[in-house]
């Protein structure tokens, strides 16, 4: 095995390992909350009179844990590995990094406890109460300091594209998080009226545009060329993709508000730029796919690269779908129903989640200096996630079309409940599959990290 001879620095990649464990652990909790919420929609009295498990509290816990517990730490783990490697240096401070991991996990515990107790600011993706907002900003600032200082002490003069994405993603998320959570108003964390909706969706969309997407792109740009042992296809496309992403993605939050009385010119900007998203998306994808062209065997041979490459295909689907959904005529059918929930799952689980897992599995042998505990389990997890997220897409898109068309045709929400019930059952079944895959993943990752192969636990 090539991994047997990997050089592990004295620091031992403690930060990257910490983020791996964080991601693997919170993926279990996050997907369980999703499964629980899905179950409550088919058996609403299953948690009757357990206030802290009421659907309206379970849902934000699920979403916040997926975003900040599973996907972001997974992508961070890879970044904390590839940034020093790409810059031919060591991480500026493993101590600071481990401190970040600890504080990050403390904040996640705070997220679960506060939301379960009903302490929320009631704004989608910006629910967290002010002390937790501050905690999130602090951990992102700590990550930023570590990245920037590592860059400052680099021995490699050229900054590779993955490093651009990691730096920009972290600094821009810190800023938009403050803005979107109206962090200067600790009591409500909100503006009043329509401006609140505008800034909320500006921020909400940027969680994908300025956090998940850049960090995922960073991982893909690192893993794919290395896995296929080929240079990146085009530096120019890297530049176009990077700058276009920042310019275009940031404009489009208002496409969540096309059916709401916000200024028309703002809606026009959001629609035009939503369609223009094809530029950064295709610049990135063409670059990655042409790098891998003719070398798919290498992708198949590496489980990490397989996850990552699948993530890029999901990125294609979710982006094209997103551009279409921003068209007002399409949105007449898709808005307010499960179509959008399906879209969110392709994006966060299919694209960013797949790439987070891929990055994690790709770096794990390099972090430990030995092969994965079980390639088979990782492959099994891959198929469970892939079938789960594809199934979600099919099922939720069908429900969305049923709901959207029936509503347009004058059916009430209540009348639609019996016909969509069976799809909610299927959704929960697929959720069980994804939760099970998280259990497998946690077992595989902890075994890889803490036990020698063949050693009994």
């Amino acid at each position: 095995m090539e991994n047997q001879n990997v050089h592990i620095p004295a620091s031992g990649y403690r930060t990257a390992k910490g983020f791996c464990l964080t991601s693997a652990f919170w993926m279990m909790v996050a997907t369980f909350m999703g499964l629980l919420g899905a179950t409550e929609l088919i058996a609403p009295d299953i948690t009757e009179n357990i206030g802290w498990l009421v659907f309206g509290r379970v849902r934000p816990i699920h979403i916040n844990l997926v975003l900040f517990g599973f996907v972001t730490p997974g992508l961070m783990a890879a970044a904390f590995y590839y940034i020093p490697r790409l810059l031919r240096t060591e991480l500026y401070s493993e101590t600071l990094g481990v401190g970040t991991v600890v504080l990050w996990n403390a904040a996640l515990v705070g997220v679960v406890v506060s939301l379960a107790a009903g302490h929320t600011q009631g704004r989608e993706y910006a629910e967290l109460i002010w002390p937790l907002d501050v905690g999130v900003v602090v951990v992102f600032a700590m990550v930023f300091v570590n990245f920037v200082m590592t860059v400052a002490t680099r021995k490699e003069p050229v900054l590779y594209v993955s490093v651009w994405y990691a730096l920009a993603g972290v600094v821009l998320t810190t800023l938009t998080y403050c803005l979107g959570n109206i962090i200067w108003r600790p009591d409500t964390g909100a503006l009043a009226g329509i401006p609140d909706a505008i800034i909320l969706w500006f921020y909400g969309h940027n969680i994908f545009g300025l956090l998940l997407t850049p960090l995922s792109a960073g991982v893909a740009y690192y893993v794919i060329p290395r896995a296929v042992k080929a240079p990146l296809y085009s530096h120019t496309l890297s530049l176009v993709g990077f700058w276009a992403l920042l310019v275009v993605y940031t404009h489009i939050g208002t496409h969540h508000l096309l059916q709401v009385p916000v200024p028309t010119w703002l809606k026009v900007i959001s629609i035009v730029d939503s369609v223009a998203m094809v530029i950064p998306v295709m610049a990135f994808l063409i670059n990655i796919w042409y790098t891998a062209k003719g070398r798919l065997g290498e992708i198949h041979a590496d489980i990490g690269a397989k996850f990552v490459f699948t993530g890029t295909i999901m990125y294609f689907f979710v982006s094209i779908q997103g551009s279409m959904m921003a068209l007002p005529q399409v949105q007449r059918v898709t808005h307010f129903n499960n179509w959008v929930v399906g879209h969110a799952h392709i994006g966060v689980l299919g694209f960013a989640g797949m790439i987070a897992l891929g990055g994690l599995y790709y770096i794990l042998p390099y972090l430990t200096g030995r092969p994965l505990y079980s390639r088979f389990l990782a492959d099994f997890q891959y198929w469970m996630v892939l079938i789960g997220v594809s199934g979600f897409t099919v099922v939720l898109t069908i429900v969305g079309l049923i709901q959207g068309n029936a509503w347009l045709n004058g059916e009430t929400v209540y009348r639609l409940l019996p016909p969509v019930h069976i799809y909610y059952v299927l959704r929960a079944a697929l959720g069980l599959m994804i939760f099970s895959s998280a259990l497998l993943g946690f077992y595989n990752i902890t075994r890889s990290m803490f036990f020698e192969p063949g050693e009994s636990s």
Binding site: T120, G193, P195, L246, V247, T250, Q259, V260, N337
Partner: protein, 319 residues
């Protein structure tokens, strides 16, 4: 282009600043919404109820945003920016797992909401909303006050209507069954009272009626039509007992009208948005046949038979 740490960080922050200027700051400073014609400030108890609404994540399933393309509750008024000026945070919602609530105030009386919050399936058998009995009655009343204010001045007008008719239906109920039935029949327009159910009783029609009854009615009126469904303890006047109606001049038209239009003031909602014509005739006849044990289906006066009607064709007698 050479990418240095400075160009990456400063460049991206500058782009973000430019976008925030255009897409966030400009709309914020250039639009100053005036209150809409229905706007009023919330009362302290409504504000308190709004916090309960937020704490329990109601916004994840209920929008407060009526669009031009909507039907259903509240569709009579399209949302305007001036409706939201006091909403901090704004609670537009992004998903309609449940109904839109922006004009919910006064659609139902308070007792319906208490029964519904205690367990939504008590009044809406197919509902998938969680039960909120765990909040306790005090909190439920505060939450109800908030919901009854949704729609602001329009909601106030509807609440005034609810309170007026609540007094009337309560008086009628307390005057005894005979007087109550008489009062209810009197409040159905004469034209409807004179109309029998125009369609014949069929096995298929009764089966459809039973399905409609189970999906919409039995939480209050109970599976045997005696008004002792699970919602009964919370509702006053209590749900109607159909089994006392035999011989009390309940025409198919009366049943149709009461189901279509509801009985404002009582917990009986209107079903005209949820049930189309045939469904209302079918469930009305189901009630008449099984619970009242007296149906006027397909009796005189009759018009031209509907083309689908089963049975042999007999030409009507020429006058």
């Amino acid at each position: 282009m050479k990418m240095t740490p400075k160009s990456v960080i400063v460049g991206s922050v500058l782009i973000l600043a430019a976008v925030v200027f255009v897409a966030v700051w400009l709309p914020y400073v250039t639009r100053h919404e005036k209150p809409s014609e229905i706007f009023r400030t919330r009362t302290p108890v409504e504000e308190e109820g709004r916090l309960i609404y937020i704490a329990n994540g109601c916004v994840y399933c209920h929008s407060q945003s009526i669009r031009t393309i909507d039907w259903g509750v509240g569709a009579e008024r399209i949302a305007q920016a001036g409706d939201y000026i006091a909403d901090r945070p704004i609670l537009l919602g992004s998903e309609r797992t449940g109904v839109d609530l922006s004009q919910e105030g006064g659609e139902h009386p308070d007792d319906w909401h208490i029964a519904h919050f205690t367990n939504p399936r008590y009044v809406r058998p197919n509902s998938i909303m969680p039960a909120f009995a765990f909040l306790g009655m005090d909190q439920l009343k505060i939450l109800t006050a908030y919901v009854q204010g949704l729609g602001m001045k329009d909601a106030d007008a509807r609440m005034e209507r609810q309170r007026y008719w609540k007094k009337k239906v309560t008086e009628a109920y307390e005057a005894g069954p005979e007087e109550n039935v008489h009062w209810l029949n009197e409040h159905v327009p004469q034209g409807w009272r004179d109309v029998p159910n125009p369609y014949p009783t069929t096995e298929a029609g009764l089966a459809r009626g039973e399905k409609i009854y189970q999906d919409n009615c039995f939480g209050c009126h109970s599976p045997i039509g005696d008004g002792m469904g699970p919602a009964q303890p919370w509702i006053y006047p209590p749900p109607f007992n159909f089994t006392i109606l035999k011989g009390r001049e309940i025409s198919g038209g009366i049943l149709y009208y009461q189901i279509m239009n509801g009985i404002t003031g009582s917990a009986m909602p209107y079903f005209k948005k949820e049930l189309e014509s045939e469904k209302i005739w079918d469930v009305g006849n189901f009630v008449a046949v099984y619970f009242i044990n007296q149906s006027d289906a397909n009796t005189e006066p009759r018009g031209i038979d509907a083309s689908y009607e089963p049975g042999g064709f007999k030409p009507p007698q020429q006058p």
